[in-house]
């Protein structure tokens, strides 16, 4: 391959406003808008109070996982819900699952506010490390010492989310209450104004602190909605393709992946853990080396 051909394949470096006009900026704006909407709903609901005659939506009414938890109860009882859930939960859950069926776990990468919060914290951690040398050294030391153990644990911890999914959904079906709610960091966050210490608040603390060191720890290891979405996304016709001919295995895509996937060694990225954020596509310096494709479901062709 000639040097001239290689130069043609390198994406032009964007500057100024042009550098901001990327799909990643759009993704961040979408995440920000959704987070702002949920914050607004939460504040309005808290200010109005439970006893208000005005009907205000609880932020829990928009939680898609609540829809999965209440689904069984809704079907067998002919229309009643487990506490804290409404018809809106079922609708948002349907929206998440249909999106997964068509476009993989795009909800996780483009919409989920808890994923966005973890992204923000990890971005803050990266900024701290860039700005302050002692912080960078501290993080590097922790990373180097913990890496062998973490690499081993990471492989197995990724299965925890399937256990959480089964426990939460079957628990709600058997007992008629959301057994997962007290352990749910999202529930703890949107109900933070109640000032109640629940196991979920502790999980939230671990998630937020863990995000300083690992990108999206909740999504990687414990999110039951991500587990359901990832499994259903396997049936999607959309996949990411790494074109080996254009790729130089620079590993930029792997470093950019918030879910810690080994993108640079894969031909097609169809992992259940992929959140379809397209960071790898955006960061890849080679034109055509990383692409979003549509093909036949399950075949990635």
């Amino acid at each position: 391959m000639s040097t001239q051909t290689l130069q043609v394949q390198i994406k032009p470096r964007l500057k100024g406003v042009q550098a901001l006009l990327t799909h990643q900026t759009v993704r961040r704006l979408v995440q920000l808008a959704i987070a702002a909407f949920i914050t607004y709903i939460t504040v309005v609901h808290v200010v109005a109070g439970e006893s208000s005659t005005n009907v205000t939506a609880s932020p829990e009414a928009f939680c898609p996982f609540g829809g999965l938890e209440t689904f069984y109860q809704y079907i067998i009882s002919g229309g009643t819900f487990v506490s804290h859930t409404h018809l809106s939960n079922l609708v948002v859950a349907a929206a998440v699952l249909i999106t997964a069926l068509l476009l993989r776990s795009a909800f996780c990468g483009w919409i989920c506010p808890l994923g966005f919060i973890q992204d923000i914290i990890h971005g803050f951690s990266a900024w701290l490390q860039k700005k302050f040398v002692p912080v960078r050294k501290l993080f590097r030391t922790i990373s180097q010492r913990g890496q062998p153990v973490w690499k081993f644990l990471d492989k197995y911890l990724r299965f925890v989310k399937y256990g959480v999914l089964v426990w939460a959904v079957t628990g709600a079906a058997i007992y008629g209450v959301m057994v997962f709610r007290d352990y749910d960091p999202w529930s703890a966050l949107i109900n933070i104004s109640e000032w109640i210490v629940t196991p979920g608040l502790i999980v939230l603390g671990f998630t937020l602190v863990g995000s300083l060191f690992v990108e999206r720890p909740w999504c990687r290891y414990a999110c039951p909605l991500g587990a359901a979405s990832g499994l259903l996304g396997k049936l999607s016709p959309v996949y990411l393709k790494r074109n080996a001919d254009a790729c130089t295995s620079c590993k930029i895509c792997t470093k950019a992946c918030p879910m810690g996937l080994q993108v640079h060694t894969a031909t097609t990225i169809t992992s259940v853990d992929c959140v379809s954020c397209l960071e790898c596509v955006g960061e890849c310096p080679r034109d055509g080396a990383m692409e979003v494709k549509v093909g036949f479901p399950l075949m990635a062709k």
Binding site: S58, H86, L87, V91, I111, V177, L278
Partner: protein, 112 residues
């Protein structure tokens, strides 16, 4: 077939929000137990235990089903000094949930 990342993002939003708006337009949407899908206020009714919702207070349920608050509290081993203004969903514990309350009320209605 290749998809532009901008187009992919746009499709994600159209599909996700489109499903929600579609259900809303079809009348399949409710964000609170205080109203039904047509926006009508839901009140506890002795004729149907399923009208009991999490936002309702002990007092409202007690009045609608003509059951003393103390009886409800003792049946589910809840503290006797629980205020009657407490919402059902705030009482949920190992010994109490709305489904159990509905079943208990139903049984009480059939065996007065």
């Amino acid at each position: 077939m290749k998809i532009n990342p901008f187009v992919y993002g746009a499709i994600v939003l159209v599909v996700f929000l489109g499903v929600i708006f579609g259900f809303q337009q079809a009348g399949v949407w409710s964000i609170s137990g205080k109203v039904d899908t047509t926006g009508q206020a839901i009140q506890p009714s002795a004729a149907d235990v399923n009208t009991i919702k999490g936002w309702m207070t002990l007092e409202q349920v007690s009045t609608a089903f003509n059951v003393p608050v103390a009886d409800i509290l003792s049946a589910f081993n809840l503290p006797a000094d629980t205020p009657a203004s407490t919402a059902m969903k705030d009482l949920e514990s190992d010994t109490f949930d709305i489904i159990s309350l509905r079943a208990w009320l139903l049984e009480r209605q059939s065996n007065p």
